[in-house]
Amino acid sequence: MASDVVVAGEDVWKVYGAGETEVRALAGLNVAIRRGEIVAVMGPSGSGKTTFLNCFSGLDDITRGKVTLDGVDIHHLPDRKKSEFRARKMGFVFQSYNLLPVFSAVENVELPLLISGVAAPEARERARAVLGELGLADREHHRPSELSGGQQQRVSLARALVARPSIVWADEPTGNLDEEGATQVTALLRSLNREYHQTMVVVTHDASVAAACDRTLKMHDGRLVPS
């Protein structure tokens, strides 16, 4: 069913440079991510994993092709609309957490809601609820520097989920964590996916993370290769 597809990419190209210096970071990708799926994107360094995430999420422009998210061609939106679309439909988790150091945990989490125009009291309530679900109720007023790596990544996850986005993009979410932390975060991703049917795309090097996903897209030189 077409409505089951959250993200669809048709013949997506991302080319850097020109002539002899041309680099094809994405070379004609055709991808469909279905609602409720958790998909891993794997591949060696330089294979185009992060470019995939950036281009399919609209963080970066594509050279050719089409990417739709909930049926909307995101690359034809003007920057302002694209930003608003991201605020409503997407969540992000990055390897280095990217939390605002001047904000507390709860302030970081409620930010996407405020950007979407949710009233501050409601945003705070929802942020606290998500933090509670992720076991961080007692850390909501801590600033990032006062949290462990695993805790910071969980705050980052809470921030990605709080607006109930159509999809969460995670770029090496366990890359900065020790083994125990990585296991916890992987389990959390999986449980959130199952519990809330949250669609997720996880770019990772870690085979154990990929193993926890519904399916894996393998990339090499900007192309998808068979698993």
Partner: protein, 977 residues
């Protein structure tokens, strides 16, 4: 001067050799430092720009000093020319002449002796007098003219006169007169005009020519008529007498003065040998006036430099800010360097060498910029003053002077200031925890032991400040010392208190106390009394204390401030996240914001204070035209008594239609002996005539007001008492206790109801008067009494006069007609409104220049903001990427950046403005009617300053903010420095 330059140069060389030696001993550190300098071209430019401001202020002050000194020296040479020394007796004025007369034989005796002295080129006999001139051809009279008699042969030593067409003449011919440019302009005179000189006798002459106001024709300042010695003797009715001997040293115009010491010694010996005939004194005329000119220029430069101290201090803070920012930026690198074995001293040297390179470049650029600033300021000055004196403007512009010593001094001071600040800051920022630095872990809050150390430091400050305060709180010393003393106690007390209570409470209390102590005159009086003296430096001290107080309040209450603003903005809408982000950085990193806040607050404080002062004094003067004039247009003074002023005006058809009121005033000088005043105080006495016409009775029609009267009498009652009671008087405002006007200087005071003995210094007639009112005017200074009271003191002349110009009549026409009609009496007129207006214009010009000068400090704030904003873009790159990923639009990023810097800038501006107005309000209300004028907010100036400062800041941060807004999110989010 050459030795000063040599010393400074030597000092600079030693300093550079020391730095070079250190660099040789720490080559790795120096190499890293040099690489860091080349690391980012624009960053280096910005840092150098931030560092150069202090030097530019110093250099600019010196350029102004050099130029003003050159101008003053120029006019001094013009006024005295080749008259290096003079011999005269000015202790006794004789008639209208300023010096006592002596027989020509005395000059001959002096000349015989001086002819033997090799350092003296010649002596010239002269007669200097004053009088009136009437140009029969143009029909214009001029009173108050200097008349100088000199022989044609004087040109041999004093130089020739130069006609306006460029030809020269050695001196005036018999029956003719040379008019200088100023007098010719006033008379509308041309060569060949018939003029009459009125002195002791009337002397008709023909204008031989108009001569330039140069070193010969501008002698004694201009407005001069040069005649032959016999003509001047006839004019003064002093045949065979002189009253001035000009002495010319060997050498050129400027070189001759070098012999003044030896010549003065010779002249004094000669006069002693001759028995000091006629009480003659030798005076080092040129040398004394040159010294005064240079001293005056130094005073001007000091004013600029002290007011520039705010900007210099702001520049120093910026240096600290820059290096703290650099250290934060390089924290990871520094941690790595320490990890691989570089000791802490090595890190200090890296920063020190890097800073020294910046400082050397910045001092050079700052010195050059200071020259440009000085030039621009003088250019503005010449434009401002052009309307008042084209001659001064031209001289100022033509005399632009930059001395090598000044440039070297500015360079060395600027370089030293930067290097010392950098050395201290380097030592501080190089203290770091290696692990935290490498892993970018924030520093923990200060441990309790830090508060303990600070408490010890605080206790020391309390002790030192307390001692300083106790030692200086009484007496007549400079008020700056007790001001500093108690400020130390307040700051020290806060450091001690912070050991026991929350920082916010301790430092907020200190902030409030510092503001109150720095800016409240009543508190100063309560704790210090009213005897201390104050200089411009005291204003600097007060300003620093108040701004420090404001900074403490801002830094330690920033979170409350931000919460309040957030509440104001509301809790809904898309502005909320922008406000949150924009205000979070200054709230969470208050110390970084504090530097920029302080810079803006200090500079704006100075600008607004100067503007408020100028505005207050201008307002005060403008308001006082009515008060000073008493409703009259002119005050007249004539060398001869006008027996029937009112009748003469009434019978002159021209004047009758122009002058509505003419009041004859008996005028004279009295020596008063006020209680507690060590020596006789000479002042004027005025006794307006009652007159037959009730409509013109001064005592019932004048509108002079009083600031205070005896027993609260009304103005009408006071004047009625003065008119009818010979034993009472009213006095000008300078006599009121607490008055400290600019004009008055050292002045005695008298209490209401107090009695002052008065004496006519010529006749020694005496009487006592009881003072029953302080007039609300300080233009006509002295005692106002009844005509009969004046007569008791021996004054019954009518040499003074008050005129009111009729409605609709031209003031300038009336002035010309009055002077023409009463020319035989030598009537000079003083237009109240014009004189006050001129003083306002001069003041406004000076204030305008100072405002421009101190506004240069804004460059510090703007540079600081630019540097911090640039750094913030790099530092927050991933955070910006994350915000963009979460849905922040470019506009929201831009908005949050602009809000962040607007918050710091606008609060700094607001606090600086508020504190300056508070200080000025206190100064004016604490000294009513005093030198600070009337409190009035210079709305237009403040609005312009605020707008310009804010717009320039926006311009400085626009680039970095736009860069932040347009960062590609995909790149930003994965950025690693």
């Amino acid at each position: 001067m050459a030795s000063d330059a040599l010393l400074l140069g030597l000092f600079l060389v030693v300093l550079l050799v020391l730095v070079a030696a250190l660099a040789l001993g720490h080559r790795v550190a120096f190499r890293i430092a040099a690489r860091n300098v080349r690391r980012g071209k624009w960053r280096t430019v910005l840092i150098v720009f931030g560092l150069l401001v202090g030097t530019a202020i110093i250099s600019g002050s010196f350029v102004i000093q050099d130029t003003v000194a050159a101008v003053d020296v120029h006019f001094t040479y013009q006024a005295y020319g080749f008259t290096d020394e003079a011999i005269y007796n000015d202790s006794v004025a004789q008639g209208s002449a300023p010096y006592a007369f002596f027989p020509s034989s005395v000059f001959s005796a002096i000349a015989n002796r001086t002819a033997t002295e090799s350092l003296i080129a010649g002596t010239t006999p002269e007669l200097v007098d004053s009088g009136s001139v009437y140009d029969r051809t143009s029909g214009v009279p001029e009173a108050g003219v200097t008349v100088i008699g000199v022989n044609a042969s004087a040109g041999a030593v004093l130089g020739d006169f130069t006609y306006d067409n460029g030809t020269t003449t050695p001196g005036p011919l018999p029956g003719e007169v040379l008019l200088d440019d100023t007098l010719a302009g006033n008379l509308g005179a041309s060569t060949g005009d018939e003029v009459v000189l009125y002195g002791a006798t009337a002397v008709p002459l023909v204008v031989q020519g108009i001569v330039r106001d140069d070193t010969r024709g501008g002698f004694l300042g201009g407005n001069t008529a040069f005649v032959t010695l016999p003509t001047s003797q006839a004019f003064a009715n002093e045949t065979g007498h002189l009253n001035f001997v000009a002495v010319t040293n060997v050498g050129s115009l400027t070189a001759g003065v070098a012999h003044t010491g030896a010549v003065m010694s010779f002249l004094n010996t000669t006069l002693d040998d001759l028995g000091r005939p006629a009480g003659l004194q030798a005076v080092a005329l040129l040398q004394n006036n040159l010294n005064a000119a240079i001293s005056s220029a130094a005073t001007t430069a000091t004013l600029f430099l002290v007011l520039g101290l705010f900007s210099i201090l702001a520049g120093t803070l910026l240096i600290v800010g820059i290096f703290v920012t650099l250290a934060e930026e390089r924290k990871g690198e520094m941690g790595m360097l320490r990890a691989v074995g570089l000791n802490r001293r090595g890190l200090v040297y890296i920063f020190f060498f890097e800073g020294t390179i910046y400082a050397a470049l910045a001092a050079l650029a700052g010195t050059a910029l200071g020259v440009v600033i000085g030039y621009v300021l003088l250019l503005v000055d010449t434009r401002l003053f052009a309307a008042q004196s084209a001659q001064v403007s031209a001289a100022l512009f033509a005399s632009f002077t930059v001395s090598g010593v000044s440039l070297l001094t500015a360079y060395v001071l600027g370089f030293l200031l930067a290097v010392v600040t950098i050395a201290a800051t380097s030592a501080r920022v190089s203290r770091l925890n290696i692990v935290r630095a490498i892993r970018s872990i924030p520093e923990p809050p200060p441990a309790r032991r830090v508060y303990t150390y600070l408490a010890y430091l605080g206790a020391l400050l309390v002790a030192l400040g307390g001692l300083l305060f106790a030692a200086t709180r009484s007496g007549t010393g400079d008020i700056s010392y007790p001001l500093i003393g108690l400020a130390f106690v307040i700051v020290g007390g806060a450091l001690v208190a912070a050991r026991f209570v929350r920082d916010r409470y301790a430092f907020s209390a200190a902030g409030i106390l510092l503001i109150a102590w720095g800016g409240t005159v009543d508190i100063h009086r309560a704790l210090l009394g009213s005897s201390h003296t104050g200089t411009i430096f005291a204003v600097f001290v007060e300003g620093i204390e108040m701004v420090l107080g404001g900074v403490l309040l801002f830094v330690f209450n920033s979170d409350l401030l931000v919460a309040g603003i957030s509440r104001l903005v509301g809790r809904h809408g898309r502005a909320v996240p922008v406000v949150r982000i924009g205000l979070s950085y200054p709230r969470r990193r208050p110390m970084r914001s504090a530097v920029n806040f302080t810079v803006f607050a200090m500079v704006i404080f100075t600008v607004v204070l100067i503007a408020a002062y100028g505005n207050g004094v201008s307002t005060s003067v403008a308001r006082s035209v009515t008060a000073e004039s008493g409703g009259y247009t002119f005050f007249g003074y004539s060398t001869g008594s006008i027996p029937d002023l009112a009748g003469d005006v009434a019978n002159n058809s021209t004047l009758a239609s122009q002058i509505s009121v003419a009041v004859p005033v008996t005028y004279g000088t009295v020596a008063s002996a006020p209680s507690g005043w060590p020596s006789p105080f000479y002042d004027a006495i005025y006794a307006p005539a009652v007159g037959a016409d009730p409509a013109e009775n001064f005592y019932t029609t004048n509108s002079y007001n009083f600031t205070a009267t005896w027993h609260g009498l009304s103005a009408a009652a006071v004047w009625a008492e003065v008119a009818s009671n010979d034993s009472v008087a009213v006095v000008d405002g300078n006599w009121a206790p607490g008055s400290s006007t600019i004009l008055s200087g050292a002045h005695p005071t008298v209490a209401l109801g107090g009695t002052v003995p008065l004496e006519n210094p010529a006749t020694h007639a005496r009487s006592n008067v009881t003072v029953i009112g302080y007039m609300d005017q300080e233009f006509l200074t002295g005692f106002w009494v009844s005509p009969s009271a004046a007569a008791a003191l021996g004054y019954s002349n009518f040499q003074g006069s008050l005129f009111k110009v009729a409605a609709g009549a031209s003031t300038s026409d009336a002035a010309v007609d009055l002077k023409r009609a009463f020319f035989p009496y030598g009537l000079q007129l003083y237009n109240f409104a014009e004189i006050l207006q001129q003083s306002v214009q001069s003041l406004e010009s000076a204030i305008g220049l100072l405002e421009i000068f101190v506004s240069l400090g804004l460059a510090v704030g703007i540079a600081g903001m630019g540097i911090v904003a640039l750094r913030a873009v790099t530092e927050r790159r991933t955070q910006i990427g994350m915000l963009r990923a979460e849905g922040f639009t470019r506009g929201m990023i831009l908005g949050s950046f602009l809000l962040e810097y607007s918050y710091v800038t606008l609060f700094g501006i607001a606090v600086g403005t508020g504190l300056a107005l508070w200080l000025y309000y206190n100064a004016t209300t604490g000294n009513p009617g005093g030198q600070f004028g009337t409190f009035a907010v210079p709305v237009a100036t403040i609005a312009t300053t605020v707008l310009v400062a804010y717009l320039l800041t926006l311009a400085a941060i626009a680039g970095p903010s736009w860069k932040a807004a347009t960062l590609p999110p995909a790149e930003a989010v994965r950025y690693t420095e």
